[in-house]
Symmetry: C2
Subunit: 221 residues, 2 copies
Amino acid sequence: MSSELSTKLGYQFVNPDWLKIALTHRSSGNDNNERLEFLGDSIVNFVIAEALFYQFPHAQEGDLSRWRATLINRETLGDLGRHFELGRYLFLGQGELKSGGNQRTSILSCAMEAIIGAIYLDGGFSAARDSILRWYEPLLSSLTKASSHKDSKTQLQEYLQSQRMALPLYQVESIEGEAHQQFFTVSCTVLGIAERALGQGTSRRRGEQDAAEKMLGILKK
Amino acid sequence: MSSELSTKLGYQFVNPDWLKIALTHRSSGNDNNERLEFLGDSIVNFVIAEALFYQFPHAQEGDLSRWRATLINRETLGDLGRHFELGRYLFLGQGELKSGGNQRTSILSCAMEAIIGAIYLDGGFSAARDSILRWYEPLLSSLTKASSHKDSKTQLQEYLQSQRMALPLYQVESIEGEAHQQFFTVSCTVLGIAERALGQGTSRRRGEQDAAEKMLGILKK
């Protein structure tokens, strides 16, 4: 049982007792997972904070905190627990077992944190970090994609805020063509930046997005 | 300036720019300490959690969480910042400076967290952990003393709870001597423990404390 779970987790315990304690809910016995959960919670918090810090070198503290909260909240950790089918391996008291405790999000998320604490005690910090980053890889990647799919105006605004610079000004410089087939040229200027970005598009909004993208290029070069 | 502060902190930066950023409040410029604060917060959280975990091997998760919250809250970190006279080294905008920002608890505590993040980036995890544990040594020691100065009945109760055992029963077995000079013998029994502890004292309460201390001895041997 426990070696089956170890394989899913991608970590083989030197001392499998740690895993057993991590899977033991307080309803089941004295040597339960509450202390390991306390330790594991602080480890996943740190590892995810560090990962976000490096993954988003221009993100502001507010965004980093928000993303971290999403990644390590009860629901996400509970989903991780379900992914590993922890419910099959938990040690629960009779009452909890009867009331479906082995599928309860709070119990699964605590067990996930306890497993992290257990890996740390068994294999040290890098073992715990490697495991967490492996499990979170899909979530961290999707965060990067979501972040890079932001439209250019939003990206520019966030970049300028992160640099404590003034917000950009957009101005329509010219409109060509007939009413149903217009072509917009829009400028984007930023206070303190001499160069002006010119964008073009078939609507004012598309022109602004194009100008924002070019201004980002100017700022980051 | 910065090497003076490094000496106080007990950590010499390979790259002193990290320290400078850690000391830069957002009111002062673009390269401010907010991202370092985000990182440092998660490091001190983990390091203190781990220290408490090892320092109190029998403490319950609830106590550990409570102690950690006390050790890493804004006030404690702000006091640490005052201890290092951070106010003298901070880079603040004019507005914050005029309104006494360099003594404000929130600014000092954020700067302390940012310094922890800076040490981590400059010297790695063990450098950050060593610094934190050195700074917190007096507070962690006083926690041990406070915890060990708890009266024996409280200690016994907490120990039994941590082991998910029944609470102790105290019973006066005999009272000897005259009214103004009585001598109490009190028994302490715990469900599931065959051995009974007998305590003695010049009051019922003292007899109970003595019995509790002896029961702790029985349980821990």
